[in-house]
Symmetry: C2
Subunit: 354 residues, 2 copies
DNA sequence: CTGTTAGCGCCTTCAG
DNA sequence: CTGAAGGCGCTAACAG
């Protein structure tokens, strides 16, 4: 039916629909549907085969929008990260996307640039997309307004039947993957102390970001247990990552009481610290030891090899997706991920360690 | 695992729909629609305001599936990359996602793991999602079967009114962003020659990947013009990136006629080469010069700073999305992106340059 | 087993 | 300017 279709294939012609296939195959809509997508009821083998070949001959591609609308369930999962160009999130996302793919789900990715407002915008956008599940992969903020608002939003999501999970604790009840930032940082601190370090500085990341805060806290507490108190100016906070860390390092290196070790809460910060020290002619680890956190992949081959605390980023992404899509559980689930110190070449034992 | 009946408002209740808002506001469905989403016709200010407040009071969130289905246009763009954990793609994706976001579009991300079959699966999946536009960010393959099949698929996409663009040439007519891999590599080769290098080796990446191939070709041609012919064993190909590059480097460094410079077609490969040389005790750039390609962000602070060829990854991602969503043009558009040599610390002038 | 028929939630001519 | 009504493409009860 219809007039001669224009042979010029350039014209955006209407896509084939199931009804077209059904008609061409001489069966009803319902039968075609059952033949192509066997769920509750299937269709007998001969019919199925026939309809399927007709479908491919016609170049039929199902309209997911329509089927999702009718079936009341989509095939998408939402993924929120702060910044894809950060290796941390890139790896987490790689794992998450791969896991979703394995579940035949496609990933709606949104980047929030460390801005709470964008997180909420993204959440609302994804809700409106009716994602089947959603993962808050970005670290949460230590801010009670944020948490209150998030709590409301998450409740709405769950009420709508959307499974939600997060990586790191956002201060809101939901399933979560909890990398042991505190424990890992504490282990690292103890290791440094064992190596004889006493004057240690921290190059912290953004303020009020729980992931970063936890690392600082864990590190600090472990030092305190060893009888080492950190002054406020032993903890430098950096915002714009790059230059900040660089300057902070220069400052630390020039102090009269120069630290013997620097803990950067992020591998990316650590590499900036290393770069600054290199440029200043301060030898690592001979003069100063440096450690990072996360063991991010792009830096694996860098020399001297960075001492850091390993986190299985991709697996964390996978696990978060897994939690979210299986999120029917009544009880909140928390999956703790161990963080393991990896001692490499940027740290050394102090010669006259007591 | 008791039979704890979920109490409270946790039960997945039906989400608010436009009809609910309309009813609560005492207007018709059509009016509510026009009040909330003013497009062709809007609604008078007073009505609009009223309906809007009713909507928020009810916690109404529009169902994008339904509206897309009815309006015949979605708000999603598809993005295909090979591997998100590769800094190259992570940055490209960051740019692309951001650009899409700026156009109020949300990104459907799919990773294809360098497998052609997955590319096609992704394409079909995205078509079925009725994306508004789609970007093939992953490098194409130098394989005629692949290209033939892709050509068909792209035509189908365009026929369906979906704008398509790619980064790098996939050998198929469509809008594309073309980083000047050949030119950049050629410039790099000339620079090395100018520095006095004559024995140069290439650590290539995957075979039959146009992006990598182009770099090798451009480099090789420029050397040839300078009268330097590369033997086959001067070009090593690596698949699994990591170990391969490492071993290849060891091999190169141990040759009787050790090269004075190594060009790695990728920064990530270059850093592996550097790592291997470091472990072997070969000094860079004193004994061997090393150069990479792309100037990937996570490596910016690494020392000695890597000589490389800069490509504006994020902008490439943005541009590709821009092309795809504006893809109504009849004429094919090609956007060439210049690649600029950045000479840093891993290359040096040979002392007795002839 | 197959076909008919309501919707899914929204948009958009078309009357009023 | 507003409302009623017919789709958008598909699914899932229902009959037959």
């Amino acid at each position: 039916m219809g007039k001669e279709s224009d042979t010029g294939p350039k014209t955006a012609r209407r896509a084939m629909k199931l009804a077209d296939v059904a008609e061409a195959a001489g069966v009803s809509l319902a039968t075609a549907s059952r033949a192509l997508f066997p769920r509750a009821r299937s269709a007998p083998e001969p019919v199925r085969e026939h309809v399927q070949r007709v479908a491919v001959d016609l170049g039929y591609v199902p309209n997911v929008l329509a089927s999702s609308l009718a079936a009341g369930a989509t095939t998408t999962v939402g993924l929120l990260v702060h910044d894809l160009s950060d290796p941390y999130y890139a790896e987490v996302a790689a794992g998450a996307v791969s896991e979703a793919d394995g579940a035949n789900l496609v990933t709606l990715m949104i980047t929030t640039q460390w801005e709470p407002a964008r997180v909420f915008a993204a959440l609302s956008s994804l809700r409106s997309q009716r994602v089947r599940a959603l993962v808050l992969a970005g670290s949460g903020f230590a801010d009670s307004d944020y948490r209150r608002a998030l709590r409301r939003e998450v409740r709405a999501l769950r009420d709508a039947g959307i499974g939600v999970s997060s990586i790191s604790d956002h201060g809101v009840p939901m399933d979560m993957v909890l990398p042991d930032n505190r424990g890992g940082a504490a282990d690292l601190a103890r290791m440094l102390v064992d190596l004889g370090h006493r004057r240690i500085a921290i190059v912290g990341g953004r303020r009020h970001v729980v992931t970063m805060d936890d690392r600082v806290t864990g590190f600090r507490e472990a030092l305190a247990e060893a009888g080492i108190e950190l002054n406020d100016d032993d903890v430098v906070h950096t915002d714009s990552t790059r230059e900040c860390a660089y300057e902070a390092t220069a400052d630390l290196a020039n102090r009269k009481n120069r630290p013997t070790a620097i803990f950067a809460v992020t591998d990316m910060l650590a590499v900036s610290v290393l770069g600054a020290l290199y440029d200043l002619g301060v030898r690592v680890p001979d003069e100063i030891s440096v450690a990072g956190f996360t063991d991010v992949a792009p830096l694996h081959e860098v020399r001297p090899a960075l001492t850091t605390v390993r986190l299985p980023l991709q697996e964390m992404g996978r696990a978060a997706v897994e939690l979210a899509i299986s999120g029917k559980a009544k009880r909140q689930r928390k999956l703790t991920v161990p963080a393991e110190v990896v001692q490499r070449a940027t740290t050394r034992r102090l010669p006259r360690a007591r």
